[in-house]
């Protein structure tokens, strides 16, 4: 995400950085490039204008043109300014009411229903809340069924009784009170911001529910209209925040910058995949650094802590030290890695790794090969003869050559570990 923008800004700023002293004309040229990049990233025209003006003001005010490292200082100013636009500090959900109602609103196809499921999972698992979902989208065919299926998958109840969206929402609130749920997440039908009737309906729903959070769900790929959309929803509903979805593609997400600038409402979460756990808290500073190619290591470590079993990681280290590392441990490592999501997504967060392509399927094949072995074979791969290898290849849908390649790699890995033994192990972040 944002990687294309990062790339372009980087090339512009590197050019600036290479030069010794900058003139005001150099600065203008650099900023002109930044302007183009931001416009191509779908940042709204007016927001871009303000951004460039602010950066120039600061650059001139800081008298960086006379300094020895003007380029670097511009990078810092651009970065700080991006953080500022993206909302300064991170904004959490305010769920102080009981039950706390979260109202999800937005255009058709922005991803509200999926987000309802993701939020429910997040609140239940990370904040130990009892969550009730309300299916108040009576417009789109099977929208209720979709939320029901998501709820069933997660094991949370879904309230869907009522002939109108208002009835559903109010019934759900009563149910939440009666059965003492902590949070009620209300999914609503997608609507155009200019649809008078449906916008009034939302206003009334908001009036009756008095939600703790009214969140606008917006597609990260939205163009210049993001501003009008966010503005209109905000005027009608007094939003408490924005959720950006589909950020796992190549959208440069300029809409995010625009909406926050224009409405002043913070972005609270971002959707980064199709699975229900693909939800991240939005961090303006990290995002800005990511835009500038500084990577997002912090998110990566947090994710690792949430998904990797610390005990298993420790055992693994001990095994390496005892040299009792087997193919079973190898498979366990692959599974742990895969639990953290697609490898490409992990690499995106590491500076300089954004462009590396990884064949995800190679890992799947390795896992399949190990799965096709007997426990005995996994512990003592030396017993593998031609016959056994053929069976394994057949069982895993691979070739004997691939089985051989895996065994060779495993051998090499073991040798490497032997050499490492005795040396101090680098602190790995999972172990805490």
């Amino acid at each position: 995400m944002f990687s294309a923008l990062t790339e372009k800004l980087n090339s512009v700023l590197t050019q600036l950085r290479r030069r010794g002293a900058l003139t005001e004309r150099d600065l203008d040229e650099g900023l002109r490039q930044v302007r183009l990049v931001l416009l191509e990233a779908d940042v709204h025209y007016k927001v871009v204008k303000k951004f460039i003006d602010d950066v120039k003001q600061k650059a001139l005010g800081a008298q960086i043109l006379e300094s020895l490292t003007p380029g670097q200082q511009i990078v810092k100013i651009v970065r700080d300014e991006l953080v500022q636009i993206l909302g300064g500090t991170r904004a959490d959900l305010h769920l102080t009411q009981w039950p706390a109602v979260i109202l999800l609103v937005g255009l058709q196809g922005s991803g509200k229903t999926t987000m309802a499921g993701k939020l429910a999972k997040y609140l239940a698992e990370r904040e130990q809340k009892r969550v009730l979902l309300a299916a108040a989208d009576l417009q789109r065919p099977a929208a209720i069924e979709q939320l029901r299926q998501l709820g069933a998958k997660l094991g949370y109840p879904v309230y869907a009784q009522g002939r109108t969206p208002l009835e559903v929402a109010e019934g759900a609130l009563q149910e939440a009170r009666k059965s003492s749920f902590d949070v009620l997440v209300v999914d609503t039908a997608g609507r155009l911001h200019i649809d008078e009737e449906l916008m009034s309906e939302l206003q009334e729903m908001k009036q009756r529910l008095q939600p703790a959070e009214t969140l606008l769900v917006v597609d990260a790929m939205t163009g210049q209209e993001a501003v009008t959309i966010a503005q209109t929803f905000d005027q009608r509903l007094k939003l408490t925040g924005i959720i950006l979805t589909k950020l796992d593609g190549d959208a440069r997400g300029g809409a995010a910058l625009s909406m926050v600038t224009i409405t002043g409402r913070p972005i609270k979460f971002v959707g980064v995949g199709e699975k229900l756990e693909d939800l991240e808290v939005f961090h303006p500073d990290r995002m800005a650094e990511r835009i500038l190619g500084m990577g997002d290591i912090l998110s990566l470590i947090e994710e690792a802590e949430a998904r990797v079993d610390a005990k298993k990681a420790e055992e693994f280290i001990k095994k390496i030290q005892r040299e009792s590392f087997t193919l079973e441990d190898f498979r366990e490592q692959i599974q742990q890695l895969r639990r953290m999501g697609p490898i490409t997504k992990l690499l995106e967060k590491i500076p300089g790794m954004q462009k590396i392509e990884v064949d995800e399927r190679a890992l799947v094949r390795v896992e399949a090969i190990i799965n096709s072995m007997t426990p005995e074979e996994r512990r003592r791969p030396e017993i593998l003869d031609a016959k056994r290898k053929r069976r394994i290849a057949l069982g895993s849908g691979t070739h004997v050559s691939e089985v051989n390649k895996l065994l060779k790699r495993f051998d090499e890995a073991k040798k490497m570990m032997k050499q490492l033994k005795g040396k101090r192990f680098p602190q790995i972040p999972f172990g805490r």
């Binding site: 779908d42 196809g109 979709q146 790929m221 163009g223 210049q224």
Partner: protein, 305 residues
């Protein structure tokens, strides 16, 4: 109400905004100078036309105004329309419907939430009402998203189409294959293969699309008649990346732009038309089935400006 009238109504919000802006800029008596051009540039960029296409359009406008000695801003509007129409006309393209008794086969593609399922329903209704295609089959190829099958099923019932579906999580190619078999066996007029929404950057999912395409082509013994990419009209510059990557995967035959009944202007189609040379086959300007219609450059520009 005529089709043109409905198009105009659909694009009304878009137009009101744009015309308001243009009227401000193009006041009678005002000279065509750099400040005016800069303002036109702003308007085009905020219509999602993109920096590159905008620059080209403004350059063309400037050159043409100079060549024809246009000084007054009131003539600028006509010039602008002229240029936009010229750029969009090559992108017109009618749907390819078969008349040899074989089923017309549509593959419907797009990112999540672009409006694939709704487009299938509208298009099927359109084929029924206006082309006398009676026997229509929907293949529920979105086997990933929760209740996607049910959603298409409800539309099938409303439109009067048959539904071929497997359970969630199954191989979409298998669904498509069975649907093709059935369409051939039962002599269907049209077959719509729905697919799960996918971001164009996901390698594995794009491979899955290629597989669906291969499997269907093999069984049909020919290419599918239409592989339509559904683009959300509110999408910005990412639309170009979507068009490019979907086209690389399954060689898209046309674009359908949805949700143009809001305030979004869908300006990205200007770049898709000129850079990718992909035809814009249909645009959606409202909720009703007949709000999805053939794309006509002149009408589109007239309705817009």
């Amino acid at each position: 109400m005529s089709w043109l009238q409905r198009l105009k109504d659909g694009l009304k919000k878009t137009k009101e905004q744009l015309v308001g802006q243009l009227a401000q800029v193009l006041q009678p008596g005002r000279r065509l100078d750099d400040a005016l051009l800069a303002q036109l540039e702003e308007i085009l960029i905020t219509a999602d036309v993109g920096v590159e296409a905008t620059t080209e359009i403004v350059q063309a406008l400037k050159a043409r105004a100079a060549a024809r000695g246009v000084q007054d801003s009131s003539a600028v509007m006509e010039l602008l329309k002229e240029i936009l129409k010229e750029r969009l006309r090559p992108a017109e393209g009618a749907l390819h419907l078969r008349s040899d008794g074989q089923p017309t086969v549509f593959l419907i593609l797009g990112v999540n939430g672009s409006g694939k399922t709704t487009t299938i329903a509208k298009l099927a209704q359109h084929l029924k009402d206006d082309f006398g295609k009676r026997k229509i089959i929907f293949a529920a190829g979105d086997t990933f998203r929760a209740a996607a099958v049910e959603q298409l099923g409800i539309w099938a019932e409303r439109v009067g189409a048959q539904l071929v579906h497997h359970k969630t999580g199954s191989d979409p190619s298998a669904v498509a294959f069975e649907a093709v078999e059935r369409a051939l066996r039962e002599g269907a007029d049209a077959l719509f293969i729905d697919t799960a929404g996918r971001l164009h950057t996901k390698h594995n999912l794009m491979e899955e699309l290629k597989k669906i395409n291969r499997v269907v082509e093999k069984r049909l013994g020919r290419a599918m008649d239409e592989r339509l990419l559904i683009l959300d009209g509110t999408t910005g510059q990412n639309a170009i990346s979507q068009a490019k990557l979907f086209h690389e995967a399954v060689s898209v035959t046309g674009i359908v732009v949805t949700k143009l009944d809001g305030t979004a202007k869908g300006g990205s189609i200007l770049q898709i038309a000129s850079a990718l040379k992909l035809p814009i086959k249909l645009i959606g300007v409202g909720e009703r089935a007949d709000d999805l219609r053939e794309f006509k450059a002149d009408e589109f520009v007239e309705a817009l400006l």
